[in-house]
């Protein structure tokens, strides 16, 4: 069993399909949705953890892709823009999962571990430099 964090971007036509239901029933996957939204122009976004056998995840991903859903393995819901970060560390106390953290307290530099992020968006409203942004 492995867990993979995925970012789905749904085209206008597919937001009403019960894709998550099929991932659970047909591909035996454990789904943990962090954040989902249908936008004003009827596109959809979802950030989720998918747990299961690697092969089942691959097949599930193919099933989702067949609906025209874009699965971006790099750009996730919450993004930390390192160039904008001043390493003030203000975000650290507001991040519930330590996705934003300090590896070395001698140099006090911030790093972001995307896999730990649960998309609570605390960092977005908190960061004084706009270093944390959201794709949706």
């Amino acid at each position: 069993m492995i867990t993979r964090k995925l970012f789905f971007r749904f085209p206008k036509s597919e937001i009403e399909k019960p894709i998550v239901y099929h991932l659970v029933k047909d591909y035996d996957l454990i789904i943990n949705i962090f954040r989902a939204r249908v936008t004003d122009n009827k596109e959809g976004y979802m950030v989720l953890d998918v747990t299961g056998e690697e092969e089942s995840i691959e097949r599930g991903v193919e099933f989702v892709r067949a609906f025209g859903v874009a699965i971006d393995p790099i750009n996730k819901g919450v993004r930390w823009i390192e160039d904008r970060c001043t390493h003030c560390t203000n975000c650290i106390a507001h991040c519930p999962t330590n996705a934003l953290h300090i590896d070395d307290r001698k140099t006090m530099r911030v790093t972001f571990t995307e896999e730990l992020c649960v998309e609570c968006l605390n960092c977005l409203s908190n960061c004084p430099y706009g270093a944390c942004t959201s794709a949706f």
């Binding site: 001043t86 390493h87 203000n90 650290i92 106390a93 140099t107 006090m108 911030v110 908190n126 004084p128």
Partner: protein
């Protein structure tokens, strides 16, 4: 004993021994104070964080026909124009025209004077909109144009208060979330925020202002700047530890420097939700090691510097004077403190990472002979308290 002249001669010939305020701690431990004081010429200190009392004077040069600008906006941020025809002062915390501020609490304050300053230093284009009443010698009454910092005659940063010697640690003892200039504070003291580079911070390494004075050359966001006066609210008469280090705010510096020489990495607009706009600046201050005593003071460690823990939901706004306790920067930098039996998550508003980078850069510039020290023209006041503002019922 060394003099400024001797140290500058060594800098000019590339022979100066320079260490950062972090490196000097172990160095003196290893070598002993006596030997280290003979060897080391300069210790570099630094800080990076929001410094609200900042701004800049800009001179646009004259349009044709000429205009005596009486109202000005830079990217829609009002700039003070109650000075000569084409001079303005842009304040760091000035909000953009029509910013809803806290009408929709907490306001986001995404753009203000500090962001215009950041854009200028980054070489980006900024819009000037100006109005005037028109005069015989300055007939133009309206102007809208775009410019970069290169088009200006002068862009001089003039900051009435930077580099607070020490600072409060903010917590929130109330039952609701509050928004402050030290960031978002969760209720029931769930988090705390501090704002100082601690053992790297300029005035914590020269706690009694033995070397830093009016005229001292400083590294201001990459430019060679100067201390032009004591900073506003400079209050050296305060509670101090036996090592002379203030246990509260205390001293401040007024700094100036040429924005055209600045590095955008160290000039950053700050948006503080629910509070407003501020400007984060990087400042480096070289401490000349004139004698053993001065060197000893630069070896101060985070564990020996304490800051007051203040409740920003009540005691700070109501000015009660109550201090909940003292906490060391060593403890703060672990990311967690224990107070009153509870664990409080700690983060900063200043950047130690950037302060370290500045101390290193200033060290390199001095070693290369690119940054000479300046002997102060006058010392900073060493005895002085801060007055409050009395509200009187009648004119005096």
């Amino acid at each position: 004993m060394k003099t400024y002249e001797e140290i500058n001669r060594k800098i000019e010939t590339g022979k100066a021994v320079v260490l950062t305020a972090e490196e000097i701690i172990d160095y003196v431990d290893r070598k002993g104070l006596d030997a280290a004081a003979k060897e080391v010429d300069v210790v570099t200190t630094a800080t990076f964080g929001p410094m609200c009392s900042s701004g800049c004077f800009l001179n646009f040069g004259h349009s044709k026909p000429k205009m005596r600008i009486s109202e000005a906006w830079l990217d829609d941020v009002p700039a003070y124009s109650g000075i000569a025809a084409v001079d303005v002062f842009l304040g760091a915390t000035q909000l953009r025209y029509n910013d809803p501020a806290n009408m929709n609490y907490p306001g986001r304050f995404e753009f203000g004077g500090a962001h215009v300053i950041e854009k200028l230093v980054a070489g980006e284009t900024v819009q000037l909109f100006g109005l005037s009443y028109g005069t015989d010698d300055y007939p133009r009454r309206e102007i809208r144009t775009w410019f970069t910092i290169d088009d200006l005659n002068q862009a001089i940063m003039v900051n009435p208060r930077n580099c607070y010697q020490n600072y409060n640690v903010a917590v929130n003892c109330s039952s609701r979330r509050i928004h402050t200039y030290l960031g978002i504070l969760e209720p029931y003291m769930r988090n705390a925020t501090y704002c100082s580079a601690g053992q790297l911070s300029p005035l914590l390494n020269d706690p009694l202002y033995e070397t830093v004075g009016v005229g001292t050359a400083v590294w201001l966001a990459g430019a060679r700047g100067h201390v032009y006066a004591e900073g506003t609210q400079h209050a050296p008469t305060c509670d101090r530890s036996p090592n002379g280090v203030p246990r509260e705010g205390a001293g401040t510096l007024a700094l100036t420097g040429d924005m055209k020489q600045m590095d955008p990495e160290f000039v950053r607009g700050v948006s503080l939700p629910g509070y407003g706009v501020s400007l984060s600046l990087g400042v480096g201050v070289p401490i000349p090691i004139l004698n053993e005593q001065i060197l000893k003071r630069t070896t101060v460690r985070d564990k020996d510097i304490v800051a007051p823990l203040i409740d920003y939901s009540h005691d700070y706004p109501e000015k009660t004077g109550r201090v909940l306790g003292q906490v060391s920067y060593a403890a703060l930098k672990t990311g967690e403190i224990t107070f009153d039996g509870r664990t409080v998550r700690v983060s900063a508003m200043s950047s130690y990472g950037k302060a370290l980078a500045i101390a290193e850069r200033l060290k390199d510039e001095i070693r290369r002979g690119d940054f000479l020290l300046a002997q102060p023209l006058a010392p900073l006041p060493r005895q002085q308290s801060m007055k409050g503002l009395k509200i009187t019922e009648e004119p005096k």
